[in-house]
């Protein structure tokens, strides 16, 4: 593990206890230049994690709390008439920052959801005919409550696909929880966090991650995985080529974090659930769940060798 990365993980880990794997996944997503969706119940540390990430990576940070009455302008920004100068001045919205936390994205209307998702995809915003680039790196962490909770607008499959990864934090284990209960307020710890790298360093890491070697044998394995999702009857539909690319990119970043110059099947397996779960649906389940089980089945059934 490169020193800076190791340090980053340790720092975030001091705030978000016992979640090293999830932190690594979030970093993987970031290194792959993708956006992250965190899906979990309220109070599991979603916000804490994104805030900590922004702090240690030294990124400009904004948080948008998505509510049912949020409008696209509240995200993107608005031009206001300045009486003194007689001109319209653009007041940039919260999206103009390097790390945006879109909290509870599924509580707002599809219209506002789209505004965010478009910006994520294009990395620029067009307001009143003028195109404004978003800062680089641009990284969105969206959180959402599980779809079945009341008062939510579930994201459609096509929009879920915009997120490179979807992770769940889950309950902390007993040891971590005990430390949490005994220790200081996390907000104070968060305030004390020191950056571990700067933006340039982060961009260098991103480029390095793209250079990680992928062998023919590994591509074979990825293709077998994708093929399985397209052929096995329990899958409602298979993984798209974009899904396959996402899997490969994440596996590279994971290998980079693991300080390997090449990708091994275990890297693919480590990122696979986060990358494919939200892109899959079980044939027998029309509610959109079942991706978790499908990802596990892919891992078990597809031969790593051969």
């Amino acid at each position: 593990m490169p020193g800076a990365i190791e340090e980053t993980i340790a720092h975030i880990g001091s705030v978000l206890l016992g979640k090293e794997h999830q932190i690594k996944l979030a970093l993987t997503c970031l290194l792959s230049r993708g956006h992250l969706l965190i899906e979990d119940l309220p109070g599991m540390g979603k916000t804490t994690m994104s805030h900590a990430l922004a702090k240690v990576l030294n990124l400009s940070y904004n948080r948008i709390q998505f509510t049912s009455d949020l409008l696209p302008a509240d995200i993107l920004g608005v031009s206001v008439y300045d009486k003194d100068s007689g001109k319209f001045n653009f007041h940039a919205g919260p999206i103009f920052s390097q790390l945006v936390l879109a909290d509870e994205i599924n509580r707002t209307t599809p219209k506002s959801q789209s505004a965010l998702l478009e910006a994520m995809e294009e990395r620029q915003v067009t307001i009143e005919g003028q195109t404004r680039p978003l800062p680089a790196p641009f990284f969105v962490i969206a959180t959402q409550n599980p779809n079945t909770q009341a008062g939510t607008f579930p994201l459609p499959e096509s929009q879920l696909d915009r997120f490179l990864m979807r992770i769940e934090l889950g309950y902390p284990d007993a040891v971590a929880e005990r430390i949490l209960l005994k220790g200081e307020d996390r907000r104070i710890v968060l305030g004390r966090l020191e950056p571990t790298m700067n933006v340039r360093q982060l961009q260098e890491f991103q480029e390095e991650a793209e250079q990680v070697k992928v062998s023919e044998a590994l591509l074979d394995y990825i293709q077998r995985l994708v093929q399985h999702s397209r052929q096995a009857p329990e899958f409602a539909y298979g993984l798209s080529p974009r899904g396959a690319l996402a899997l490969l990119g994440c596996a590279r970043s994971w290998a980079f974090i693991e300080n390997r110059s090449h990708v091994v099947p275990e890297d693919v397996q480590a990122v696979l659930p986060s990358v494919v779960e939200h892109r899959l649906r079980e044939a027998a389940d029309f509610s959109g769940h079942g991706g978790t089980a499908l990802a596990q089945r892919m891992l078990i059934k597809v031969d790593v060798i051969g």
């Binding site: 070697k213 062998s215 023919e216 044998a217 590994l218 110059s261 090449h262 990708v263 091994v264 099947p265 275990e266 397996q269 892919m298 891992l299 078990i300 059934k301 597809v302 031969d303 790593v304 060798i305 051969g306």
Partner: protein
């Protein structure tokens, strides 16, 4: 009862298939059996819909008892095929009311296959075979349906699957058909195919052949090796009738003929009486079943070598068994011949014998004409001329004749069919002491250029005569040709064209539309197909099989055949197996993967198999935890493999991995030792 509910698809197909399988038997079934079938099917549907329940034990017993009793009364016998088929069908339908378990469904389906096969006891033609194929597909669909879950709601899908299955089995079917040793059955059921068969019989009375000529049924097909002789030469000799009782002609007493010539035996004394002249005509005949013993051949045939066929004293063929199935035999005939140049006094007596006091007027007539004739030849010519000059009429509707039939025909009605002319001619010959006899068989036939064969139907039945002349032996005289030469030249239809009686009772017969060219074309095509079917499928008898296989594989016996069949079967199975297994590893393994997998097998033998989805590093970690003693060597192998496979692009050289594995093997062997 148990809660087994037969899947919808299966029940639907079962009922449809059952109906289809029983349908061809309908005309042979007792009407109450049909009622019973309908009741059972309706009852079963009601059970499926949950409106009725299964019948109680006593109702079922009642059904069975009444069914059997009804069959005994209805058929009057349990001999023969019909009663048993009827009983089988009855039980087949009754089983519907007893379908409590999946097993019962299987019983019905197996019975369905069986009932389908019984149809072949009655009819083995192409349409019937195609229909049975359809039935078998439907039964198979029912079988598939029985193994589908209830969520399969599309019966056509199931049928499609059954069709595919059946199609896949066709190659195996063909192989089994060709190679499976054909064993004669242990017992034979009297088949019903010969029922209601007409054909030339061994009694000829006025009107008998005219009656036969009403039928367009196939008698036989003759395939010629070379050119087909002209129609007027095609006299298919079947029987020689020489005993006359004043009204009908019958065969000579067999005892008087002496012994038959059987193939393989030393020649009989009378065989030398046959001189064959002229060119030979080679042909084979596929005879439809007649349930008689006589066979047809062009005059004059050489002896045959086919087993079960003998030559009779009057130079015609005789089958030792009744012909109950299609029979194919090959012959060589000579259209010019001389037989019985010498005739003993005994035979002269037999062939001039007439009943006493019968047909006195004809007797007088004969003597008058003989007195006016120079010699025997002149007499024969005069008689034939008088048929022509006295305006005799060739008709399919001859008037009924009394006891002195020849008198009435020759002097009163003068209307007759070939049997009248042949009968009266032989009578007139015998009346003046010329030995003569009636020959019956077929004359002419239709040439099918597609299959290159002659097709002879019942309306080609004919009677003619043979007259013995000093020094020449028996010569053929056909009095019909004097009256209606077109009968001999172009067949019955043109001979009776004027009176419009050709197949008058069969308005829809194909044969009536011979003028319509395209219909004729279709008919000839169908007939040719049917002929090939008869020759190669229905006619594929044990002897044909042996000779065919001998041709390709040299001499072989049953044992060899069985072995070959088994070999073929298992090699087919092997090919299928290879195909299935090959599918799993359709991609050839890279050498390095092969090495690594061998290594995994090594560990599997130690009880540490790699699971399918387990990557090499995780595997090594797991092994390391379970067997720390193996960990170092394991790690060496894993590192080598991972490095070569993932850090590089699968090099051809696998030496380092192989070396690591060898080291590992040495290590495990030593550790396992204690």
């Amino acid at each position: 009862m148990t809660g087994f509910q037969i899947p919808r698809n299966s029940l639907a197909w079962m009922l449809v298939a059952q109906t289809a399988v029983i349908a061809p038997h309908l005309t042979r079934l007792l009407y109450w059996t049909i009622v019973l079938c309908v009741v059972c099917v309706l009852w079963r549907v009601m059970v499926y819909q949950g409106r009725w329940s299964y019948p109680g034990k006593w109702i079922k017993v009642l059904f069975v008892v009444f069914g059997i009793a009804g069959s005994i009364i209805g058929y009057g016998t349990f001999l023969g095929l019909d009663p048993w088929v009827g009983l089988l069908i009855m039980m087949f339908v009754l089983k519907l009311l007893e379908m409590h378990h999946k097993r019962d469904g299987y019983v019905i389906i197996l019975l369905g296959y069986f009932v389908a096969m019984t149809q072949f006891l009655y009819d083995q033609s192409i349409p019937s075979t195609m229909y049975m194929f359809l039935c078998v597909t439907m039964i198979t669909a029912a079988l598939i349906g029985l193994n589908q879950t209830r969520s399969h709601l599309r019966p056509l899908q199931t049928f499609k699957k059954a069709s595919v299955l059946l199609m896949q089995s066709v190659p195996l079917m063909v192989v089994l058909f060709v190679l499976f040793p054909r064993i004669p059955p242990l017992w034979t059921v009297p088949l019903q195919t010969d029922m209601a068969r007409t054909g030339v019989t061994d009694t000829m009375s006025p009107g008998s052949i005219a009656l036969l000529a009403q039928s367009d049924e196939l008698a036989f097909r003759a395939t010629f090796v070379d050119e087909v002789p002209r129609s007027s030469k095609l006299y298919w000799r079947g029987l020689v009738l020489s005993r006359f009782d004043g009204k009908s002609w019958t065969q000579e007493l067999p005892a008087l003929y002496g012994r038959l010539y059987r193939p393989g035996q030393p020649p009989t004394s009378w065989q030398d009486n046959m001189e064959l002249l002229g060119e030979e005509v080679k042909y084979s005949i596929m005879l439809e079943p007649t349930s008689q013993n006589w066979l047809f051949s062009l005059t004059m045939p050489e002896g045959t070598t086919k087993e079960g066929i003998g030559l009779v004293r009057d130079f015609r063929f005789y089958s030792f068994r009744e012909i109950r199935a299609k029979l194919r035999y090959e012959l060589t005939s000579h259209l010019n011949y001389r037989i019985d140049r010498e005739l003993s006094d005994f035979w002269r007596y037999r062939y001039t014998l007439l009943p006493k006091d019968s047909n006195p007027r004809s007797l007088t007539l004969a003597k008058t004409i003989r007195a006016n004739s120079l010699n025997q030849t002149d007499y024969i010519r005069n008689i034939l001329r008088s048929y022509y000059l006295d305006e005799f009429v060739y008709t399919l509707k001859p008037p009924l004749l009394g006891d002195d039939s020849i008198d009435e025909f020759l002097l009163d009605s003068k209307r007759g069919f070939c049997e009248h002319y042949a009968g009266s001619f032989v009578f007139l010959m015998r009346a003046v002491g010329i030995p003569a006899r009636v020959v019956v068989g077929y004359q002419g036939g239709e040439y099918n250029r597609i299959g290159n064969y002659i097709e002879v139907r019942q309306f080609d039945a004919h009677a003619w005569t043979e007259v013995w002349q000093e020094g020449q032996g028996w010569i053929r005289v056909d009095p019909t040709s004097a009256v209606a030469p077109e009968r001999i030249e172009s067949g019955l239809e043109s001979a009776v064209e004027d009176e419009n009686t050709f197949l008058a009772n069969l308005p829809l017969s194909w044969m009536k539309y011979r003028q319509t060219l395209w219909l004729t074309e279709i008919r000839l095509q169908l007939s040719a197909i049917s002929h090939y079917w008869d020759s190669w499928v229905v006619g594929y008898t044990p002897s044909v099989q042996i000779s065919l296989l001998t041709k390709y594989f040299g001499d072989l016996d049953r044992k060899w055949l069985g072995m070959m069949m088994l070999t073929t079967f298992f090699s087919l199975l092997g090919i299928v197996a290879i195909f299935i297994l090959g599918k799993r590893s359709h991609k050839l393994l890279q050498p390095i993967d092969r090495e690594y997998l061998k290594f995994c097998q090594l560990l599997a033998k130690e009880g540490l198999p790699r699971s399918v989805g387990e990557g090499p590093i995780h595997y090594a970690q797991r092994i390391g935890q379970q067997r720390p003693d193996l960990a170092p060597a394991m790690n060496v192998v894993t590192d080598a493999y991972v490095r070569m496979n993932y850090a590089e692009d699968q090099p051809e050289k696998t030496d380092s991995l192989r070396r690591a594995i060898r080291a590992f093997r040495f290590r495990t062997l030593t550790t396992v030792a204690y």
